[in-house]
């Protein structure tokens, strides 16, 4: 099975792995999420007890399991790109499916967590902590959903038209997926653990 694969010189400043545009997006996203998280920490100084009590109402086990889902999924994504670089399409397809499974498991557990919170009346307007919680985690979930759609399109191309597959496109998709990991690795400790 032949595939059109091109390699860039990633040591060049203009060609980071995944493409320069994707990295600009990543920095903008990290700065956006980072700024809101810092604002959350800032607001917690006004109401430390409320933030602590609210934080205790979150399920940290769910948060930790979701971290593991995303990390394992990220590992499979890296393996997908690695297999593609040595032209092993069947293995790359398998790894990509496992990557998507990790994302779906993350969304499943997040849905359970959200339903628990809604049942307990801990909605967005409940207090300042939960306003930040819903805003940040929902925005992240949207990113995971977008990532899954992108990976699904890569999988379809890989299955139906592997000859049209371009390594740079897959690398850019992988970089977006890893960005979801990075954002979660900032959200999880601040929202679930430190208050």
């Amino acid at each position: 099975m032949s595939t059109v694969i091109q390699q860039n010189n990633i040591k060049n400043i203009l060609y980071p792995p995944g493409g320069i545009l994707m990295w600009i997006i990543i920095y903008l996203e990290l700065i956006t999420f980072g700024a809101v998280l810092v604002a959350m920490v800032w607001y917690s100084k006004d109401e430390p007890e409320l933030f602590h009590e609210s934080r205790l109402q979150l399920n940290t086990t769910f948060g930790a399991i979701n971290t593991l889902f995303l990390l394992v999924s990220g590992c499979f994504m890296a393996l997908t790109v690695g297999a593609l670089k040595i032209y092993n399409i069947p293995k790359s397809k398998l790894y990509l499916k496992l990557t998507m499974l990790g994302g779906l498991l993350f969304l499943g557990l997040k849905t359970v967590e959200y339903l628990d919170k809604i049942d307990a009346g801990l909605t967005m307007g409940y207090n300042t902590f939960f306003s930040f919680y819903w805003m940040l985690t929902l925005f992240h979930v949207i990113h995971v959903l977008v990532g899954l759609v992108i990976l699904a399109s890569v999988l379809i191309t890989m299955t139906k038209k592997p000859e049209k597959l371009i390594l740079e496109d897959v690398e850019a998709s992988a970089t977006f997926w890893h960005m979801c990991d990075l954002i979660w690795l900032l959200l999880f400790p601040v929202i679930y653990l430190v208050f």
């Binding site: 990633i10 040591k11 060049n12 400043i13 980071p16 792995p17 995944g18 990295w23 920095y27 990290l30 700065i31 980072g34 998280l37 810092v38 920490v41 800032w42 100084k45 940290t60 930790a64 971290t67 593991l68 990390l71 394992v72 990220g74 590992c75 994504m77 890296a78 393996l79 690695g82 992988a174 970089t175 890893h178 990991d181 990075l182 690795l185 900032l186 999880f188 400790p189 601040v190 653990l193 430190v194």
Partner: protein
């Protein structure tokens, strides 16, 4: 060869996540600082190995490490 590297990195990430869980459930001093440092290590491992940033130009590495340093510092200082 690279497959093995990714698996080793994943094992380290899982261990760091378990350590984070242990620290967050403990009553030790400086747990907040430890949690943030462990999370920063995970962040860097994903960026440098899974995203292959270690092979890229120094500019991108400095930008990411700089962002992370500022973020962690602000969370701990505020």
């Amino acid at each position: 060869m690279k497959q093995k590297l990714f698996l080793y990195v994943l094992i380290v990430l899982v261990i760091l996540t378990l350590l984070t869980a242990i620290v967050s459930n403990s009553e030790i001093d400086y747990s907040k600082q430890l949690i943030m440092i462990l999370s920063a290590l995970k962040f860097l491992a994903v960026a440098f190995y899974f995203m292959e940033l270690q092979h890229s130009n120094w500019f991108w590495k400095v930008l990411l490490v700089g962002f992370l340093t500022i973020f962690i510092s602000l969370v701990l200082i505020i």
